[in-house]
């Protein structure tokens, strides 16, 4: 009870100091002769300007405490005086269509680096492949004002990841095409830390769950445990040991059409694998694989993701 009271006091302190900071934010906009203000842009770019009140970036134009170099059109496109004096031209303004990828990244991160979800963007696989902000986002022609994506999120991703599109066209799949899920439910396209819940190498750009685990467990919470008897496959190598997360021809997104090959490919006793380091346990002699009855392993080993009552996951 005392612990909760302390946390409550901390929360109240944070909130009140934030409100205090907000009430004092009345800095004046600095004047700079090279900045002309967003009103000047309306003359030649009315289509953009007239709709801009819906754009999230419009906040920078109406907020009181934003300096000229961060406000409105010039916040992204730079000072506009030369552009106005020259009656337009891409050479006299910061035109994103002309910028190299790293310059686009620098421009956007001037403001957007404060979101720590983007902390790994410079080292992400996307940035390495020259896929930067404007590859996916369209500031003035977005389909949604929420994330300013150029297309529906899945379509943005499918544009490059054609193999993933094919996986989501399989009979069993997570419902991305149906709109129930989005790619970013599991992935962070802006980069992630090395997935140390696994071996640190793969998968790429996958968010981690609540206990810094595979993203699958964010929704499939009943599989998370902790269980008294963990199936180490889940905990050590992750769900992808048995499942294909995007889509599969097999029920339950399994990697194989029948369950006994999924199990037996690991449970073959070979080498120094597994928890005992002497091979993953071979099934006992009572399992007669010549009898079809024994080929549905999970019919008996029903708690295969982990059990609290049986070390062989029977109950």
């Amino acid at each position: 009870m005392g612990r909760f009271r302390v946390e409550y006091l901390i929360l109240v302190g944070i909130v009140s100091s934030g409100l205090a900071a907000f009430s004092q934010s009345s800095a004046k906009t600095p004047t700079n002769s090279t900045y002309v203000g967003s009103m000047a842009c309306r003359t030649c770019h009315p289509n953009v300007a007239l709709q801009f009140f819906r754009n999230p970036h419009n906040k920078t134009d109406v907020a009181k405490a934003v300096s000229a170099e961060n406000a409105g059109c010039e916040g992204c496109h730079g000072p506009g005086k030369a552009h106005v004096d020259a009656n337009g031209g891409k050479q006299t303004i910061v035109a994103f269509s002309e910028l190299p990828p790293n310059a686009i990244l620098d421009a956007c991160l001037r403001c957007h680096s404060k979101d720590l979800n983007r902390a790994n963007i410079r080292r992400s696989n996307h940035t390495q492949a020259n896929v930067v902000c404007t590859s996916c986002h369209s500031i003035h022609r977005a389909v949604s004002n929420r994330q300013l994506l150029a297309k529906r999120q899945a379509d943005v991703c499918y544009g490059c990841h054609s193999d993933v599109r094919a996986q989501f066209s399989q009979p069993f799949k997570h419902r991305v095409n149906e709109g129930f899920m989005t790619c970013s439910d599991c992935h962070n396209p802006h980069g992630t830390e090395a997935p140390v819940w696994k071996a640190g190498r793969r998968p790429h750009l996958v968010n981690s769950g609540l206990q810094n685990e595979q993203a699958c467990l964010k929704c499939h919470t009943d599989k998370r445990g902790p269980f008294l008897y963990e199936h180490a496959a889940v905990r050590v190598d992750g769900c992808e040991t048995c499942h294909s997360p995007h889509g599969s021809a097999n029920t339950r997104l399994l990697k194989r059409p029948v369950v006994f090959t999924v199990c037996l490919e690991c449970h073959n006793g070979a080498g120094n694998f597994g928890r005992q380091a002497d091979g993953v346990t071979v099934q006992s002699a009572s399992h007669n694989m010549a009898d079809p009855r024994y080929r549905n392993c999970t019919t008996c080993h029903v708690r295969i993701h982990g059990s609290n009552a049986d070390r062989t996951f029977l109950r």
């Binding site: 390495q128 492949a129 193999d163 419902r175 129930f180 021809a249 029948v258 071979v282």
Partner: protein, 668 residues
């Protein structure tokens, strides 16, 4: 101009993907909206009727598609914006809905914000899930559940240097299911019994983000609560799956509630010590706990024909504290070079205790306290460099070293005296990647990378051990035309003392889109995904251990898609598309033949494994959709989508389905 703008949105929605036939992407009403006081309002609501007819396996249809008949709010959007950004309480209100009414996939998102003061986001989703799992459990693990998830996030002072965040999420799964189990001894029969699935998870979180000069600090405190109160009912049939067995289960009661919580801390520090040097740290700690009881009573007859009753009571708890930390240093000495080093640490320790009591025919059996732990500690370091010597070419590379230590204390025998076997093993992964990115002309971007990895002691026979991967991608994009192609391959060899596991996967894909003029667009693509794996097996057949057999699996998936969208006289929008997915397997004509290479084929290759080497099937879904502008604020829409699923060898799950809809989109 207005219609062109609307059409641009429509094209953007449909250019690549082929989503389900409804909702219609073309909105009703003017995209500029209507002014109402100081606010501007845009909206479009589509109400219609879905219809389906299904021939064949309804269970598989429901697993794959699951749309039903009835009236739906197929889609809707609402946007309210203050025109000057100075609304009294609201500057922006956004609402998107999809499938409300009774669709199996329902979605709703809501955002409300006042600039500089607050931002509230809500995401609500509902999924009707149905899966008979026919191929993996003879349909005995059927699930028909509803999962509802919602996420609420409130940010106070979203544009200030101190932001306060609060959030709540929940995830509820309810419905019916079938479970299986085995009773009275390990060679007893298997029975199907009913389950009333009731799982609920909720999460509360509060945090703050602070910016002080070049320092950014984010702290989050959260609490997750979980409970699984699934109730299990009577067996579906007193006789089990094995009709020759004399085993009978005449009464069953089972409850196994599991409740728990996971409080956690997350802290994230990001600091730009200079314009060219950044340092960031991330730390998370969570302490998962689950308390459980397993209470079961069963009566029946064992396989020898004797009357049996059995009671089992298990209680205890499981705990799993997890600590994770990252430290990342980045140095950008000039625009051409970037160096990054990220070190990561992860420690997870699973432990718990349980008390197991069993009464057989009224006789108290063994009672013991079992204990087991699984600890995993991983240390990882990635060093990366990126060099952009020329505008048109850049290079990147990285080297990673990971060490994972797994400690396990396993109770090998449940009977007393318990034998606990402490195990410790360490495996190290070393991997390197090198790549090049090219942009010889502005519309053309290419990248190529290769990766080699070595894991000295993988955990499973199927884990990555000696592997290499290749990724290549090219994209050409101009205003009216785009073409992209990518190639990926991943080859892994994991040899052991007795067996060889190898897997080889490669995929190749090409996509293109062409917009000859604003009212006509084509897109299409093809992808090929290949996978073959070869793994050693060991299993018993008639009490004889066969340890030289092989599992050989081949998959060759071809996917083709094409679409055309056109607009006629700015009034009629038409979309036609086609998707076909086909796994050709290894080309065999009968399930009982094998394509296993002679070099690895063994006399013991059991007939059961031969059909499991492939799973050839085809799945296709043509779609057409028509949308007619009747009035500035009203559209009439109709569409049809056909699904055809067929397996080559086993026809049990085949189905075909006509789905469609008729709707009106209205904007007020």
């Amino acid at each position: 101009m207005r219609v062109t703008w609307m059409f641009t949105i429509a094209l953007s929605l449909t250019v690549w993907g082929q989503p389900t036939v409804a909702p219609t992407p073309e909105p009703a009403g003017s995209p500029r909206g209507d002014n109402w006081g100081d606010y501007n309002i845009t909206n479009s609501w589509e109400v219609g009727y879905r219809f389906i007819t299904v021939d064949g396996n309804m269970g598989e249809y429901r697993s794959d598609v699951n749309y039903g008949n009835g009236i739906r709010l197929l889609g809707g959007t609402l946007g309210v914006h203050s025109r000057d950004g100075k609304g009294k309480w609201i500057d922006e209100l956004l609402l998107d809905v999809r499938g409300l009414g009774n669709d199996p996939y329902q979605f709703s998102s809501f955002r409300m914000q006042k600039n500089s003061l607050y931002r509230y986001d809500l995401l609500w989703r509902s999924n009707e899930y149905f899966n008979p799992a026919l191929t993996i459990s003879n349909g005995n693990h059927q699930l028909s559940t509803n999962r509802q998830m919602q996420d609420h996030d409130l940010t106070l002072l979203p544009q200030s240097k101190l932001r306060v965040r609060m959030g709540f999420s929940n995830n509820a799964q309810n419905g019916a299911g079938l479970w299986t189990g085995q009773w009275f001894d390990t060679r007893g029969d298997e029975y199907v019994y009913q389950a009333d699935v009731r799982r609920y998870q909720s999460e509360y979180r509060v945090g703050a983000d602070l910016e002080l000069r070049r320092l950014k600090l984010s702290v989050t405190r959260g609490w997750e609560f979980f409970k699984d109160d699934t109730r299990f009912g009577q067996p579906v049939f007193p006789a089990g799956d094995n009709t020759t067995d004399r085993n009978r289960l005449t009464f069953l009661r089972r409850d196994e509630p599991m409740h728990g919580r996971t409080p956690y801390w997350r802290a994230h520090l990001h600091s730009e010590l200079a314009t060219s040097f950044t340092i960031q740290g991330k730390f998370t700690y969570s302490d998962g706990e689950r308390n459980f009881i397993y209470d079961e009573a069963a009566r029946g007859t064992d396989r020898l024909g004797s009357d049996r009753n059995r009671q089992i009571l298990v209680s205890g708890n499981g705990r799993r504290p997890v600590t994770t930390g990252y430290l990342t240093l980045s140095w950008h000495p000039n625009p051409k070079w970037t160096f990054t080093n990220q070190a990561g640490y992860h420690h997870s320790r699973m432990e718990g205790d349980g008390r197991y009591s069993e009464l057989n025919n009224g006789t108290a059996g063994l009672t013991l306290l079992s204990f087991q732990s699984l600890g995993i500690r991983t240390i990882s370091n990635v060093s990366e460099a990126s060099w952009q010597p020329w505008k048109w070419a850049g290079f990147f590379g990285n080297y990673q070293f990971s060490e994972r230590r797994i400690r396990s204390v396993e109770l090998l025998e449940p009977e007393l005296p318990a034998t606990a076997a402490p195990i410790e093993q360490i495996n190290r992964l070393k991997a390197g990647t090198g790549g090049i990115r090219l942009q010889p002309v502005k519309p053309l971007r290419m990248s190529f990378s290769a990766e080699v990895g070595r894991n000295d002691r993988p955990f499973y026979p199927t884990s990555d051990r000696d592997y290499h991967a290749i990724n290549a991608r090219a994209q050409y994009r101009v205003a009216k035309f785009d073409l992209s192609s990518d190639y990926r391959s991943f080859t892994n060899t994991n040899s052991t003392s007795l067996f060889l596991h190898s897997s080889s996967g490669r995929s190749w894909a090409a996509n293109g889109g062409w917009r000859p003029f604003s009212a006509l667009q084509f897109d299409g693509g093809y992808s090929y995904i290949h996978l073959d794996t070869l793994t050693g097996l060991a299993y018993f057949a008639n009490f004889t251990l066969l340890d030289q057999d092989r599992s050989f699996y081949v998959s060759n998936v071809h996917t083709f898609h094409a679409g055309v969208q056109t607009q006629i006289k700015k009034r009629v929008d038409f979309y036609g598309g086609y998707v076909r997915t086909q796994d050709r397997g290894d080309g065999r004509t009968a399930a009982g033949t094998t394509s296993m290479p002679d070099a690895v084929r063994t006399p013991e290759t059991a007939p059961a494994f031969v059909p499991a080497q492939v799973f050839p099937f085809s799945y296709q879904a043509p779609v057409i959709r028509l949308s007619i502008l009747l009035h500035r604020n009203l559209r009439w829409n109709a569409g049809w989508q056909y699904y055809d699923y067929g397996e080559k060898f086993l026809k049990l799950q085949d189905y075909s389905a006509h789905t469609g809809f008729v709707s009106l989109s209205y904007s007020f």
